[in-house]
């Protein structure tokens, strides 16, 4: 049992005993964190169920003109993080780079957890989820980016669960096969998710090939940040010492994060400059809303400072060895990415479709701010990620990894 559940031939009684011992080994802080995240998840589930049964219009602040609110942006946040975790972890356990080997199991587990959190929040956003389960299968529309996105993420989830089980059982060849197919599925799903927005001719703020490229690049960035963040937290939870291999791994993840922050900054700058230079109307209004309008704080504070600039400075200053700095930088990046998704999705809808007609009521940006119920569901998604991560650390014995 030295490596998770890889010990074959273990009896159920021994397994139960081992699990109880592990679950009892947490500190007080650990149990408080489990309790808080569990309660958040529960509150989110109740809020989502309440909205679904009572009608979204009674508790959500979404409107006819802005039908997708914070829950869709939260969904995007979670599933893109999942893609990032899957991508960065694949460098080690699928493509064989020893640098990233130590985080393989944890990253796969977290990719599963974040994807499930994404499904958790979107389930509260779909108005008639029961029909989704039926008609997504018996009446698929193959021209729909949403259909492909949902199907591929569903497929990726199943494959990653199998991959994780194979990793636990020490069947690495099967794990690599499942992991590779899951990786392809995650990338394709991520592209289709971006396509949901990027293919809409009628929404100038989104339309074009920018978003699919931006989504995959930002996924890698957030994936690297998430690996650093959860790895450092996990070591604190488990009371593990930082091994040499883990130091090398975190240093590698830090390099990936720094590179991708620069890529995202580069993309953001050029998108802004090209919009200001050409002033394509729908896009210009949206970019100005971020630069100087009602989303300036969310853009400059959340997206630029918290997600990109501050982590960049901290990652560089940490030299890859200053653990607290690494933890702070990665935490800022991972949580800041939430604003990045929120800005992209909400602003795209606040620009009225009839803005060029100069008609009353549609000449300025529309207003949206999430309701209490929507915020609770969103927090429930975060709670779910935290809850499952915390349980996973004890349940799977710190996701210790053998080379494969």
């Amino acid at each position: 049992m030295a490596n998770g559940m890889s010990g074959v031939g273990i009896t159920l009684v021994e397994l139960e005993s081992a699990l109880i011992t592990r679950m009892r080994s947490g500190s007080n802080g650990y149990y408080v964190a489990v309790l808080i995240s569990g309660l958040l998840m529960l509150a989110g589930a109740v809020a989502g169920l309440y909205a679904t049964v009572g009608g979204h219009h009674t508790v959500y602040n979404v409107t006819r003109e802005i039908p997708w609110g914070v829950l869709i942006s939260s969904y995007v946040f979670f599933v893109v993080t999942s893609t990032g975790l899957c991508l960065v972890s694949s460098i080690g356990h699928i493509f064989g780079s020893k640098t990233f080997m130590p985080i393989a199991k944890r990253a796969v587990f977290l990719a599963i957890v974040t994807l499930m959190s994404g499904f958790f929040v979107i389930l509260a956003e779909i108005k008639v989820p029961i029909r989704m389960l039926i008609y997504n299968i018996i009446s698929p529309n193959l021209t729909s980016s949403i259909w492909w996105m949902g199907t591929l993420y569903g497929l990726a989830l199943g494959l990653m669960i199998m991959e994780f089980i194979f990793l636990m059982l020490g069947r690495y060849r099967s794990a690599v096969i499942c992991g590779f197919i899951a990786l392809v599925g995650e990338i394709a799903a991520n592209s289709n998710l971006a396509g949901v927005f990027g293919l809409l001719n009628g929404r100038e703020f989104w339309h074009g090939p920018y978003l699919p490229i931006f989504f995959i690049a930002s996924a890698v960035m957030v994936g690297a940040g998430a690996i650093i963040f959860f790895q450092i937290l996990a070591q604190k939870i488990n009371g593990d010492e930082m091994t040499g291999a883990m130091r090398v791994c975190l240093a590698g993840a830090r390099k990936v994060a720094i590179l991708m922050i620069c890529v995202i900054l580069f993309m953001t700058i050029w998108r802004t400059v090209s919009t200001l230079a050409g002033m394509p109307n729908g896009q210009y209004v949206g970019v100005m809303a971020m630069l100087t309008g009602p989303y300036a704080l969310s853009f400059w504070g959340g997206e630029i400072l918290m997600t990109l600039l501050a982590p960049l400075v901290l990652f560089v200053l940490s030299r890859g060895t200053h653990v607290r700095m690494l933890l702070l930088a990665s935490a800022m990046m991972v949580f800041g990415a939430f604003f990045m998704r929120y800005n992209m999705i909400i602003i795209g809808q606040t620009i009225p479709v009839y803005i060029d007609l100069n008609v009353t009521g549609y000449t300025e940006l529309l207003h949206y701010f999430p309701s209490v119920d929507e915020i609770i569901v969103t927090l429930g998604g975060f709670g779910m990620t935290g809850f499952l991560f915390l349980l996973g650390e004890k349940f799977f014995n710190g996701h210790k990894v053998e080379e494969h």
């Binding site: 009608g55 979204h56 219009h57 006819r64 003109e65 039908p67 997708w68 956003e125 779909i126 108005k127 008639v128 989820p129 029909r131 989704m132 008609y135 997504n136 009446s139 698929p140 529309n141 021209t143 729909s144 980016s145 949403i146 259909w147 949902g150 949901v196 293919l199 809409l200 001719n201 009628g202 929404r203 809808q349 009225p352 479709v353 009839y354 060029d356 007609l357 100069n358 008609v359 009353t360 009521g361 549609y362």
Partner: protein, 250 residues
């Protein structure tokens, strides 16, 4: 054709060697180009329909549906009496929080004789319907019989992607139906029962809304859209959806 022309041109010093067929092709191309740039002048041999569809397209000679339902809106006749909105709501059981058709208002402070204009809007029954493309379960689809963008209510999962995709704000979620609702030219409530007009067109006292089969050359919608001297436009042509709702004045 252009490639052949270029090839011929590079092989010959002059145009003497051009065949009669190639000369005709070249002249046709010239006429089309002239037609597009002349903005519907009488010299153009290209139908005005190409312009109202925003791009040269395959519907030049043939409309894809039979009947191909369409509407022409005479915006200068609209006085915002809202009888169309009320008739639509009554006929199609539209709840107070939703609408299938609406009237937008445009203030023109520096306008001469008129400082306000009303713009009726509804589903444009687009030939390239983004709503139908994005729907994951084909709950919304383009009817292959009459071109109307329909809803199969039982398949709607309420993801609202069609609402986001629609460039005309023509959709809303009907809480009673548990599905997105939209204008279907009153197909289920009137057309399928033998009526010839939509409720809004029937109710309009000013003759703003002209409804009919644009594939029928004797229909009023066909004659108005194809009338070369008339300026006809569509909303948001840049969205590339090829709408079947046209706007005009006069």
């Amino acid at each position: 054709m252009i490639r052949n022309m270029m090839k011929t041109m590079t092989q010959n010093e002059g145009v003497e060697a051009l065949s009669g067929e190639e000369r005709r092709e070249f002249l046709k191309l010239g006429l089309k180009v002239t037609g597009v740039f002349a903005g519907g002048s009488l010299l153009s041999l290209v139908s005005v329909v190409e312009k109202v569809y925003a791009t040269p397209n395959q519907y030049h000679e043939k409309y894809p549906y039979k009947p191909h339902y369409s509407m022409v809106l005479h915006v200068d006749r609209c006085v915002d009496c809202e009888k169309c909105i009320h008739a639509c709501a009554k006929t199609n059981d539209i709840p107070a929080y939703g609408f299938r058709t609406n009237i937008l208002e445009r203030q023109i402070p520096d306008g001469i004789e008129q400082q306000v204009e009303f713009l009726p809007v509804l589903c444009n029954q687009c030939n390239v319907a983004q709503c139908a493309r994005v729907c994951p379960t084909s709950a919304t689809y383009k009817s292959s019989e009459n071109g109307i963008v329909m809803m199969d209510v039982k398949k709607c999962i309420g993801c609202l992607s069609c609402q986001v995709a629609c460039p005309y704000n023509a959709r809303y979620f009907n809480e009673e139906k548990w599905a997105v609702d939209k204008c279907n030219f009153c197909f289920d409530t009137r057309l399928s029962k033998g009526e010839e007009l939509t409720a809004c067109a029937d109710a309009c006292p000013a003759g703003v809304r002209i409804f009919g089969d644009i594939s029928e050359q004797t229909s009023r919608v066909y004659r108005e859209v194809h009338q070369v001297s008339r300026t006809v436009w569509v909303l948001r042509p840049e969205a590339g959806t090829k709408p079947n709702v046209f706007y005009t004045r006069g």
